[in-house]
């Protein structure tokens, strides 16, 4: 038996104003503006260049969002780059003060106004510095297991330090350690299933994703953390270390790294699996990432010959309300 819905479909809603939480695919008529509207999802999935940093560098700490990011520390050849620079979505501005110590191979977490940086090439490698929006302060206590090439995610008061090469220096080996930070002290958490350094991470201290890195070779391993333990999930398509990451545990983006040589390869995580997407224009490793899978940021890194000042802005899938025109 035919029904009205089966024959004509749903009626278009006639509303005085746009709905507060429209769903993808929802169509309505706004009687105030006399416009037909639709909520839709558009997959841009591309990189565009952003403002270049003053200090080219690699192995730095970087975090924040696409329009409010921070970079500090790192190195370019033999020259340490303790300088802090702040990104506003268009340009990088040098902050008057840099990190308190010269260091690179650093990890970080947080926002442009409240961040934390930890781990470095300088023994013991556990040093932790706190960023308050204008200056770095040495935290009285450092990581329990100092190291370099860790991954960081979360916030200044709920951060994770993951993997790395511990201890610092030639005797360092790929680590499975995870430590959580509460704003003042580090506590040892669950171990990674795959010990590795120079990996990337996304998410929070209780819902994070760790991916890529270096075990005794480049790895595609991906693991999910629930605040207590790590679970191995589907692997990346391209094995690499020194990659960047952005997003959350269920919607992440991985980019760059060294896959035998520097790469701009980009992969998207949907909570279950990785898919290959559009590559960055400037291939590089030891890169930093910030933001989300919808609005990500890649900056700094090693381009195969020297440090990079390049910034690239990722636009993923954007959900927006569009006015339907029929002319």
């Amino acid at each position: 038996m035919s029904t009205y819905y089966g024959t004509y479909g749903q009626k278009v809603q006639y509303l005085a104003s746009d709905p507060s939480d429209p769903q993808i695919g929802q169509v309505w008529y706004n009687s105030t503006s006399a416009t037909l509207k639709v909520r839709q999802s558009i997959a841009t999935n591309s990189w565009a260049t952003g403002g270049s940093m003053t200090n080219a560098r690699y192995g730095q700490a970087g975090f924040g969002t696409q329009t409010a990011a921070l970079v500090a520390g790192g190195i370019n050849g033999p020259t340490y780059k303790p300088q802090t620079e702040l990104y506003n979505g268009t340009t990088w501005t040098a902050n008057p003060t840099g990190m308190n110590a010269n260091k690179y191979n650093i990890a970080g977490a947080g926002t442009q106004t409240a961040g934390v940086a930890f781990g470095s090439d300088g023994a013991p490698g556990g040093q932790t510095e706190l960023w308050n929006g204008s200056v770095w302060t040495n935290n009285p206590t450092g990581l329990n297991f100092g190291g370099e090439g860790l991954a960081g995610c979360g916030t200044q008061t709920a951060a994770l330090a993951i993997g790395g090469s511990r201890p610092v220096g030639p005797t360092g080996v790929s680590s499975n350690k995870t430590e959580s930070f509460n704003g003042s002290t580090w506590t040892v958490g669950g171990n990674l299933n795959t010990a590795r350094s120079s990996l990337a991470a996304a998410g929070t201290s209780t819902a994070s994703l760790a991916f890529g890195g270096y075990t005794t070779a480049r790895t595609t391993a991906t693991e999910s953390y629930n605040g207590t333990s790590w679970t191995s999930v589907n692997s990346m398509g391209t094995a690499r270390y020194g990659l960047g990451g952005a997003g959350i545990q269920t919607l992440a983006v991985a980019f760059g790294g060294n896959s035998g040589s520097v790469t701009g390869a980009t992969e998207l995580w949907n909570g279950t699996s990785w898919t290959t997407s559009t590559s960055m224009s400037t291939a590089r490793s030891a890169i930093s990432g910030a933001g989300t899978q919808a609005d990500g940021l890649a900056f700094a890194g090693y381009n195969g010959t020297t440090g990079s000042a390049a910034t690239e802005e990722w636009t993923g899938t954007v959900t927006e309300t569009k006015t339907v025109t029929v002319s």
Binding site: T49, G51, Y58, G59, T90, T91, S165
Partner: protein, 98 residues
Amino acid sequence: MAYKYCVAENWGKGFITHDDASKFQVSGFPGNVWQIPANSQDANLWVNKVAGTFKTKAEAQTIVDAEVATAQAAWDALTDEQKQQPFNRQRPTAIVLE
């Protein structure tokens, strides 16, 4: 795929836009060398937009080789201890343009 090359300085925001990226792939190499598809009118327009200078593949390769040679010399000058640092462990390797 066949490629063309140009040299242009990445000035930052707006150098490569999402609109550019939706039309063709730009790949950067050391020495401000950029690789674009050989048969793309949009890519040609982009080179004009960024005031790029077209280079033959051989010319582009020479520029990249010079950058790599400089980086290799810098790496060779590092101390053994410095060469043990994670991102210094690998001597810069040759980059061969496609």
